[in-house]
Symmetry: C2
Subunit: 330 residues, 2 copies
């Protein structure tokens, strides 16, 4: 199977069809794709690379990998409040393994269809497995959610659940033991993160800042605090209750203890949830946006003027958060 057969067979079904969207003037098959953003719209652009042995195991399910490769990119669009338009895929493969390609393209394609975000171009080459996606979205000019807008006294919110992906990773790496059903549920969050695309768009005009959680809440929140020149106090009790498996019917004895849950939420990474800030007066709007987007949200702290990051426990004592996030070269 040659390079062009491979694209034709596995990726054409994910490709932009003529007339798929008014914004896609030309899809796959030329030197470039051509986009025509709507009047008054800005284009949001982001790129993420997944590497075997770093972001996923060598035996990773290719369907889940196809899903995740696009999901982590869509999550960046969500964090800007942008609507997905299309993506490019550059893929280095050790060999043209048809079984792997079928699974990968199925996982990729299903999520692309769900978000009406077709493939418009890219590159395939031989090499150590590497998946690089560049995603493009559209947002009304001036309405993108930036990292720099957090204001003193704003509430800090997160979507969904935190820490399960890292818990699953630790169990898979033998660093902790988990009952099989607990691991299975946590692993869903590791393998198939849900980009919060609808919530991001629903938060336009409501949230003062936003970021997606990929390196762990503490590290990612620090990017917002630095960009906004503010500090934050986090509610340790709220954070320790954010594991998806913690909200299930598992016995408490089958789950990590509270300090571990807090640590997973703060430093876990790979959550692909949104963290956002908003004025306290916008609480009703936020809950309405969350209902519209069918995505739970939780208030986990507030913004303060003094630069730094603290947590408060059940008795109100403030302690500094020194947890750092994942750093590929740290």
């Amino acid at each position: 199977m040659g390079e062009f057969d491979l694209i034709e067979r596995f990726f054409k079904p994910a490709a932009a069809q003529p007339g798929a969207a008014a914004q896609i003037a030309l899809g796959i098959g030329d030197d470039c794709a051509l986009l025509q953003p709507g009047a008054g719209m800005q284009l949001a652009v982001s790129s993420d690379m997944l590497v075997q042995g770093r972001h996923f195991f060598a035996d990773a399910d290719p369907v889940a990998l196809g899903h995740k490769a696009l999901a982590v990119n869509l999550s960046d669009l969500a964090a800007m409040g942008a609507r997905p338009l299309c993506f490019t895929l550059a893929l280095a493969l050790p060999a043209a393994d048809e079984c792997w390609l079928a699974g990968f393209s199925n996982g990729l394609l299903a999520l692309a269809r769900q978000h009406q975000c077709p493939l418009v171009g890219g590159d395939t080459t031989r090499g150590p497995l590497n998946i690089c996606i560049c995603v493009l979205g559209e947002v009304p000019a001036g309405q993108a959610l930036r990292r720099s807008g957090a204001q003193v006294d704003d509430d800090i919110w997160v979507s969904g659940t935190l820490g399960d992906a890292r818990l699953a990773l630790q169990a898979l790496q033998g660093q902790c033991a988990l009952p099989a059903p607990v691991l299975a549920q946590a692993r869903q969050r590791l393998d198939r993160p849900t980009p919060r695309v609808a919530l991001g768009q629903a938060l336009r005009g409501i949230a003062s800042s936003a970021i997606d959680l990929s390196d762990g809440l503490a590290a990612d929140l620090r990017h917002v605090l630095r960009a906004s020149d503010v500090g934050a106090v986090l509610d340790a009790t709220a954070l320790a209750n954010l594991l998806a498996v913690g909200a299930s019917t598992f016995a408490a004895s089958d789950l990590p203890d509270a300090p571990t849950c807090l640590s997973l939420a703060l430093t876990g990474g790979d959550d692909y949830e949104l963290l956002f800030t908003a004025a306290p007066a916008r609480q009703a709007d936020i809950l309405a946006a969350a209902r519209t987007a069918q995505t739970p949200v939780t208030r986990v702290g507030h913004v303060v003027a003094e630069r730094g990051l603290w947590q408060t426990g059940p008795h109100g004592a403030r302690t500094p958060v020194d947890a750092r996030g994942f750093d590929h070269f740290g």
Copy 2:
């Protein structure tokens, strides 16, 4: 050195500065970059991945590699007649080698500056060396040069010189012997291709189709012929004279023979020149565009109705071209 220090130190100088271009509303440093294309403009998007051992040697000069990684992407914009706007860079590195990074970012940055095409985002991770760039450009709506516009009787043109990159590669791989000065000149074309960005834009409204030459003229021309539903006859004599080293003062005995030169031009690959078609009546316009862009062009054949690809030698006999281009999975 952590991931964020690495970006700050080596890639911030290449990043979009505030007010760099009206089209770049937000550069590096948030979840996405934001672009605001000019009124009536379409965005052209393309992505290419370079892998060690496949596209370059392990000991490749990092300055040349930085140049080439962006050049091959700019070449795709050139082939659409688009003006470069900005790019994202996703980089997998085995280690944060400061010397390598300094060279790579210097080569990348110099070409980015030359084309006023700043870095607006991306990703860095640890892994086998892999460079993935996604480039964005701007072209007036409806004026992009497509592969599908070639008409019967159109002339076929190429820019610059062909075959030197493959000649250098063959010499470096020990498949042929070249005098050191010949290799040095040919190697410049392998290591530092020149994306024909100005020519691509100058050909808008003149060329009926265009493609950039990355896999070899025969293979890339076939993409144009298929998309345009036509065939072509190439001038073997013209093609055999397209080596840059052939136009130099080297003795004929130091250079490949004519059949080898023809083969290098047809199947060499890695040329990053433009191939384009135009009506014979546009010849003066093409030569004027070439002068404006300070890029030589050569007529190398013409389009015919019968599907297929032929070459004619000095005595006019037509023979089929069966040469195929480079295929990563062939």
